[in-house]
């Protein structure tokens, strides 16, 4: 039963998060900060998530390229 639950968890992790969890973490953090700014400080930070997501993409690509180079690719 435990093994089956672990397999289901691993499937959903791979399905949504994939190879690089940092992208999903940046998305979650950016949306959380946007919500805090909107509801707590009355700041309309619509620009925050697009900037954070594109930065996360660049970061993730940079890490993938570096990893490939380290492996001699």
């Amino acid at each position: 039963m435990k093994a089956r639950l672990r397999a289901i968890g691993a499937f959903w992790y791979d399905f949504v998060i994939g190879d690089d969890w940092r992208g999903a973490a940046v998305v979650a953090a950016a949306l959380a900060v946007t919500a805090i700014l909107a509801h707590g400080a009355g700041v309309n930070a619509w620009w925050l998530t697009p900037v954070a997501v594109l930065a996360a993409l660049a970061w993730s690509l940079r890490r993938a390229v570096r990893a490939q180079r380290r492996n001699g690719g």
Binding site: F15, V16, V27, L48
Partner: protein, 261 residues
């Protein structure tokens, strides 16, 4: 957003997944027989229909802002994965998805596997191969159709687009009886990655409580901006890859004396 962009986005995303599922069903059908392959296909479609029937109405009950926050976060994370893979494949840092190669591997494995059925399934290997392939690719289709449809409060159009994509790919597969290797899969995945990421950003931001300048018209800026940034990254990485793998010129590798001659 009207129904046309919703239909087109879901259609293209689902067509890409359907091409991958078709490769596996063809490998199962042509090597193990069509009966177990079609039984596996039918069983997977039934499971997917149940998941859609349960999740679709359940998501529609959520308040729109909470739904858009959750769906936006999921789509942005999911879209980033697609974009990352498509860019790495375009630039040569990751191998292209090879439907012909996958088909050859699945066919060889299916031919080598032992025969034997259970209950109404005449060949367990063929059934399982087809069932798993369709279910795993189909889950992505269901995820995209439900998230897009529920966020737009238009699950019907999204479901229609998903079914239309599956039918078009199935008809094309039956016509050629081979994997659809000539479909520009990576380009389609790049386009879908741009759309998933853009809609994820748009809905997530709205769900978090911020409002876009120009409301829905902001999508006309967000989608091209994400496409341009991702396209630029793909071009830069491709140039970097080519520069790092290009053989050194004779002048650089030859000893000074030889180069001077």
């Amino acid at each position: 957003m009207n129904a046309v962009p919703l239909f087109l986005t879901v259609f293209v995303a689902c067509a890409v997944e359907a091409v991958e599922a078709l490769t596996i069903v063809l490998a199962a059908g042509l090597t193990r027989g069509w009966r177990p392959a079609l039984q596996g296909l039918g069983a997977a479609l039934a499971v997917l229909a149940v998941i859609t029937a349960v999740l679709g109405p359940a998501l529609s009950l959520l308040p729109l802002s909470a739904l858009r926050l959750v769906v936006g976060a999921l789509l942005a994370a999911f879209g980033l994965q697609w974009l990352r893979k498509a860019i790495l494949r375009y630039s040569g840092y990751k191998d292209l998805h090879d439907e012909t190669g996958i088909y050859a591997r699945e066919t060889a494995a299916a031919q080598a596997a032992a025969a034997g059925g259970r209950g109404w399934v005449t060949d367990w290997y063929g059934f399982t191969l087809s069932f798993k392939g369709v279910l795993l690719e189909g889950l992505e289709v269901v995820f995209i159709a439900i998230t897009f449809g529920s966020s737009q409060r238009d699950v019907g159009t999204a479901a229609l687009a998903a079914v239309a994509a599956a039918v078009v790919v199935a008809v094309a597969g039956l016509a050629v009886r081979a994997p659809l290797a000539r479909v520009p899969e990576n380009t389609l995945k790049f386009a879908v990655g741009v759309m998933l990421t853009s809609f994820g950003i748009f809905w997530g931001t709205e769900g978090a409580g911020a409002s876009w300048p120009g409301n829905d018209a902001a999508l006309l800026v967000v989608v091209p901006a994400v496409a341009a940034a991702a396209g630029l990254a793909a071009i830069m990485l491709r140039r970097l890859r080519r520069a790092s793998t290009a053989p050194a010129s004779p002048a650089q590798t030859a000893p000074a004396g030889e180069a001077a001659r």
